[in-house]
């Protein structure tokens, strides 16, 4: 795995590969432990991602949002 934080879909895909590899069996202790640790890390990450989706609910009119974001709007329109 690269050092970059994987996206949720990447993480789930890798997790599925790890689980089916382990289920197929036939690997050594080192590899088993390494895969398990990686899988557990990915699970933790996925659960964190799910929790991260929860948050504030903003509901604003265009003008309010534009004035709140202030100069940023101008930057983007430029």
């Amino acid at each position: 795995m690269s050092d970059e934080i994987p996206t949720y879909s990447d993480a789930v895909q890798r997790l599925e590969t790890i689980v089916s590899t382990l289920e197929r069996g036939g690997m050594g202790l080192d590899e088993t432990l390494k895969l398990y640790e990686e899988g557990a890390e990915l699970l933790k990450l996925c659960k964190k991602e799910l929790a991260a989706a929860e948050g504030k609910l903003n509901e604003m009119q265009l003008d309010e949002l534009e004035s709140e974001l202030g100069s940023e709007t101008n930057d983007s329109n430029a």
């Binding site: 799910l50 989706a53 948050g55 609910l57 903003n58 604003m60 009119q61 265009l62 534009e66 930057d75």
Partner: protein, 420 residues
């Protein structure tokens, strides 16, 4: 059904009857917000500000009214114009006339012009490769959705309710914009500009929230003109400029809008958009729990396999030296007996050979020949005679027999005839 004579209240006053008919007509959804097309006749604008006309084609006609200020009327509309109206049926009680109350009226020539512009825009986007561009993948779990839609609209409350069902508390920002009318395109473009700011990771970090990673741009259904903003180039360009996936979610069934053709995902209604991009949190959590369980079980089984292999190796290690020694011992014993046997065989072979040689030797000894009745002749000096050559008459010879010798004298010598 009771007969007329049962009615004790007498005949129904006509006004009440007309109101009854009116209620029936007004309540029927089939007669509300209908898009109709036809030709304008008897077009008359009154000083009161109301406009009266009839809408007709070859199969029928009906009176229509545009109440003052109800909608913009294109000045090009006149007697004989082909128009599309959005109207509801009503009954004018005073005259008992059924009439259309018009909410919107557009000359068909304008719609035709708009259609032409839409087709041109689609052609242009096709040439630019925008219609076939690679779409942004929709995130499996959006962390921050921007909803760009009419503030307080039914479409918005549908989406909000559905999101709460599927993923309670999902982070979202609603950007309320006008979604119809002359200012709609401009407001949608401004709304999408805001989503671009909200999706910038660096700015989002400053605000302390995840960047917007999905945009739903939508509104409920309406007449083609109501939805026209979604066919305009500025809106199309703003959609294409979105750095994050954007869903076009405009409620309609007929022709695709330009926004549908270029968005990353096309949904048939705002609710459909939510169904397609917001996963069910329960299902996701169930999936992860299942993965977690499978991971544990598979890993434990693997570890047990490793353990078993180790135990087997261990027990083999314990008995291995003894097994090796025994095998060596066995080998040694094998060698020894093979060596003995080989030596034994060799002796036996030699003895037989010696006995055979002895027998041969015995059988060819001259004594054995003499014993069988032959005799051997020698000169007196001991030379064995095997030929008459050199013999002379009167020569003395010695005859050897098995049991002794005798002196003799040669009397006659005769060469054996070859033909005898």
């Amino acid at each position: 059904m009771s007969s007329r004579s049962d009615v004790t209240t007498g005949p129904l006053p006509i006004g009440q009857f007309v109101q009854l008919v009116r209620r029936t007509i007004v309540q029927d959804s089939l007669f509300r917000n209908q898009a109709l097309k036809g030709e304008v006749t008897q077009w008359k604008k009154y000083a009161s500000g109301h406009t009266y006309f009839s809408l007709r084609d070859n199969d029928g006609q009906m009176s229509a009214v545009i109440w003052k200020g109800k909608c913009a009327v294109d000045p090009s509309i006149k007697e004989g114009s082909e128009v599309v109206v959005l109207a509801s049926l009503d009954l004018y009680a005073k005259r008992g006339n059924i009439q259309l109350v018009v909410d919107k009226i557009e000359p068909i020539s304008i719609l035709g012009e708009l259609e032409k512009k839409k087709r041109q825009l689609i052609e242009q986007l096709k040439r630019e490769g925008e219609i076939d561009r690679t779409r942004h993948p929709i995130p499996l779990v959006p962390k921050h959705i921007a909803l760009v839609t009419g503030a307080g609209s039914a479409a918005l409350s549908d989406m909000q309710r559905l999101i709460e069902n599927r993923w309670p508390g999902l982070r979202r920002t609603v950007i309320g914009v006008l979604v119809q009318g002359p200012k709609a395109a401009e407001e949608i473009v401004r709304g999408l500009a805001i989503t671009r700011i909200l999706s910038d990771p660096i700015r989002a970090k400053k605000r302390g929230e995840p960047p917007v990673d999905l945009v739903i741009l939508g509104r409920g259904g309406g007449s083609p003109e109501d939805l026209w903003a979604f066919n305009l180039e500025p809106v199309a360009r703003a959609i294409l400029a979105s750095p994050v996936p954007l869903v076009s979610a405009v409620g309609h069934e007929s022709d695709l809008l330009v926004s549908d053709l270029i968005a990353d995902l096309r949904a048939s209604t705002p609710s459909d958009a939510v169904e397609r991009v917001v996963p069910s949190r329960n299902e996701m959590e169930f999936f992860l729990d299942e993965m977690s369980e499978r991971l544990s079980i598979a890993s434990r089984r693997q570890l047990a396999d490793c353990q078993n292999r180790l135990s087997m190796l261990q027990s083999r290690l314990v008995v291995a030296p003894l097994m090796g020694l025994n095998r060596a011992k066995g080998d040694l014993m094998g060698f020894s007996s093979r060596m003995n046997m080989a030596a034994h065989h060799s002796f036996a072979r030699q003895s037989t050979r010696l006995a055979q040689l002895g027998a041969s030797l015995t059988s060819i000894h001259p004594q054995r020949v003499l014993e069988r009745g032959y005799s051997m002749t020698q000169t007196v000096d001991g030379t064995v005679l095997s030929s008459i050559a050199g013999l002379e008459s009167g020569q003395e010879v010695v005859l050897n027999f098995a049991d002794g010798t005798a002196g003799a004298e040669i009397k006659k010598i005769k060469m054996r005839d070859e033909n005898e």
